[in-house]
């Protein structure tokens, strides 16, 4: 999913830069498509195989149940949402985003409140800020410590990721996930998970400095998978689904769940959504245990509704984000803190990279 998001973003922005914004302007200037009221909703997605999974697990069953069709649009970027709302031409109803947008988008007045008389939020797992006035969680995903199986003894946690004496060799980091990179450094430096936020960015960067020459930052997940598969790096962080994927494909890697940073993706309704009522119904549907179990069967992201785990076979649950393997080990990211501090932390992180 994030892979698709990233690739989509690369493609979109390359195009935008080449056309000098003409593409965006053109899209906004198009007359809005006339739709039959309450017959469909428009869902803006990261696309790719993730969209196909949602199609079978969510969209088709939802249409069968309610008669409301789900039309998808790729390229769900924040910039597009803001441009759309500001122009007064909202064409999307539901958008899947990273959780920071549930605050950033709300603050900018780009979101419709969720109707909790329709959407049952009591089903959602406990966790700070997973449900807000303007958002519900969609699925769980995580960054996990992945290591080459030749390492003996294997690394036990984030501390070993930063121990180049005990584990000499290159390490990979998700270059697009500044959050996980800094969090892993702070945790490795001895910050207790309970007091991780507010994150001491300077302390984290000092820890990163100790492995500067061994750190490789990947821009796309495919790159990170490659580094781990061909042994260019001996360990590092990968999205959990990606780590499982290369392990299944025969790469000599194993996962250390002691080092897991978990977060969630979120769904919001855009201000002025043309099919507001239908959109609320759709969100309510995605939070049912059945729908959550269905998406977890179709993709390795974890359900945000604990009851869904009862409907999933144990061998499947084992590989899911937030499943029994991660229980008691995963740290839930402080997304609210990040929504306010990502820009400043990234600025410091970039300065460190250049230094």
């Amino acid at each position: 999913m994030r892979q698709a998001a990233r690739n989509g973003r690369l493609a979109l922005n390359r195009r935008r830069i080449l056309l000098g914004g003409a593409a965006l302007g053109g899209a906004l200037a198009m007359p809005s498509i006339v739709r039959a009221a309450n017959e469909e909703i428009v869902f803006a997605t990261w696309g790719g195989s993730w969209e196909e999974a949602m199609r079978t697990a969510w969209f088709d069953p939802f249409t069968a149940k309610t008669g409301i069709k789900v039309k998808t649009i790729s390229g769900n970027t924040y910039g597009k949402i803001e441009a759309m709302v500001k122009a007064g031409r909202t064409e999307w109803d539901v958008v899947e985003t990273l959780p920071d947008f549930q605050w950033v988008g709300a603050e900018k007045g780009l979101l419709e409140p969720i109707d909790f008389s329709v959407v049952d939020k009591s089903l959602v797992m406990p966790g700070e800020d997973m449900v807000t006035t303007y958002s519900i969680p969609q699925v769980l995903f995580a960054e996990v410590l992945t290591y080459n199986t030749k390492l003996d003894p294997p690394p036990q946690g984030w501390t070993d990721l930063y121990d180049i004496k005990a584990f000499p060799g290159n390490r990979v980091f998700d270059g697009d996930d500044v959050q996980a990179t800094l969090e892993s450094a702070a945790l490795a430096d001895g910050v207790a998970p309970a007091s991780l936020y507010p994150l001491d960015v300077d302390r984290a960067l000092k820890k990163l400095e100790t492995i500067r020459d061994q750190a490789m930052f990947f821009e796309t997940n495919a790159q990170g998978e490659q580094f781990m598969s061909d042994g260019q790096a001996i360990m590092g962080m990968l999205p959990d689904g990606r780590a499982i994927n290369i392990r299944n494909n025969g790469a000599p890697v194993q996962i250390q769940y002691n080092a897991t940073i978990m977060t969630w993706s979120t769904m919001v309704i855009i201000k002025g959504a043309p099919n507001l009522t239908a959109a609320q119904k759709f969100l309510a549907y995605t939070l049912t245990p059945e729908a959550q179990a269905a998406i977890a069967m179709a993709y390795t992201y974890g359900p945000v509704v604990p009851k869904a785990l009862d409907l999933i076979p144990p061998e499947r649950a084992k590989i899911l984000t937030g499943g029994p393997e991660m229980k008691g080990k995963a740290i839930l990211r402080g997304e609210k803190w990040w929504s306010q501090n990502l820009a400043a932390a990234t600025e410091k992180f970039n300065a460190w990279k250049l230094g």
């Binding site: 922005n13 830069i17 914004g21 970027t77 924040y78 930052f217 061909d230 990502l342 600025e347 250049l354």
Partner: protein
């Protein structure tokens, strides 16, 4: 008597010019000038103060460094393109029709291949276990040369991708050079080197300048290649602009960064124009 028809002819001529320019001007105004003006206005319209974003760019030790790096890497890319593109353009301009087709086919095949595909291909070729390092290993240099995930990787990728923008304008100018001029120089006693430097180079200078400006300008906006083939230090300003649009939704700061990049480009163009008469490129002579 004589001046009246001449004057009216001039008037007709300029009316026709204006009419011919109009559609282009409309497109340019609507699709470029207005959006760019909007972008510049946006960069000054933050409630916290008009200059707040520019102060941040000047004070935080990231943005100007990245700008300098963007300009430097783009300049080196342009120079490398000239170095590598010149012989190819020469062969292209002076080849037989069949030779021309073959060279053009080679250029366009790579030109039409998707940018991401080419970036990923370079990753495969240049990585430490890749074919180049294996070859270098045979002569005992395998581990000492790092070709990717650093500035070298960015330069290789950028140069390969932008090379056609150098070759094509250069070859166009070269093919217009009258070959008898070189013969004339030789018959007047110039050595082949002297004839090349004193006659040929000045004649194709405008093509080289056009190529340099094109490659440099296009390189400034890149971010796919530096992101994929570069190391931690190889940030381009476009990557920071993209981050501020899509990760933090700070459009006015992204606008300010874009404005700074635009201003830096215009200043460099102005300097280039003063010292190297870049303007004559567009005059055609």
């Amino acid at each position: 008597m004589m001046s009246a028809p001449a004057g009216s002819r001039r008037a007709t001529h300029s009316t026709a010019t204006v009419l011919l320019l109009l559609p282009g001007l409309f497109v340019l105004a609507g699709m470029f000038i207005v959006p760019v003006a909007q972008l510049i206005i946006d960069s000054f319209s933050d409630s916290a103060g008009a200059w707040i974003h520019y102060r941040r760019i000047a004070v935080v030790p990231v943005y100007l460094l990245v700008l300098a790096r963007t300009l430097l890497v783009s300049a080196v890319t342009a120079a490398l393109c000239l170095l590598l593109g010149f012989p190819v353009a020469y062969r292209l301009a002076h080849a037989s029709p069949t030779g021309k087709s073959i060279i053009l086919l080679c250029i366009f095949l790579s030109f039409w291949t998707n940018l991401l595909v080419r970036a990923f291909s370079w990753m495969v070729l240049l990585n430490p276990n890749g074919i180049f390092n294996q070859a270098l290993g045979l002569i005992g240099l395998g581990d000492s040369v790092k070709l990717v995930y650093n500035t070298t990787g960015v330069l290789i990728g950028q140069t390969q991708i932008l090379l056609p923008y150098m070759i094509l304008p250069l070859a166009a100018v070269m093919s217009r050079v009258d070959p008898t001029l070189m013969n004339a120089a030789r018959s007047l006693g110039a050595s082949p080197t002297r004839a090349f430097l004193a006659v040929y180079i000045p004649l194709v200078k405008s093509g080289a300048m056009a190529g340099l400006v094109l490659v440099f300008t296009l390189s400034l906006g890149s971010f796919v290649i530096p992101a994929l083939l570069g190391g931690p230090r190889d940030m381009f300003l476009a990557q920071l602009i993209e981050f501020n649009i899509n990760n933090t939704l700070n459009l006015s700061f992204a606008s300010a960064l874009s404005t700074v990049l635009l201003a830096a480009t215009l200043i460099l163009y102005w300097i280039g124009n003063r010292w190297f008469q870049l303007g004559q490129v567009w005059g055609g002579r």
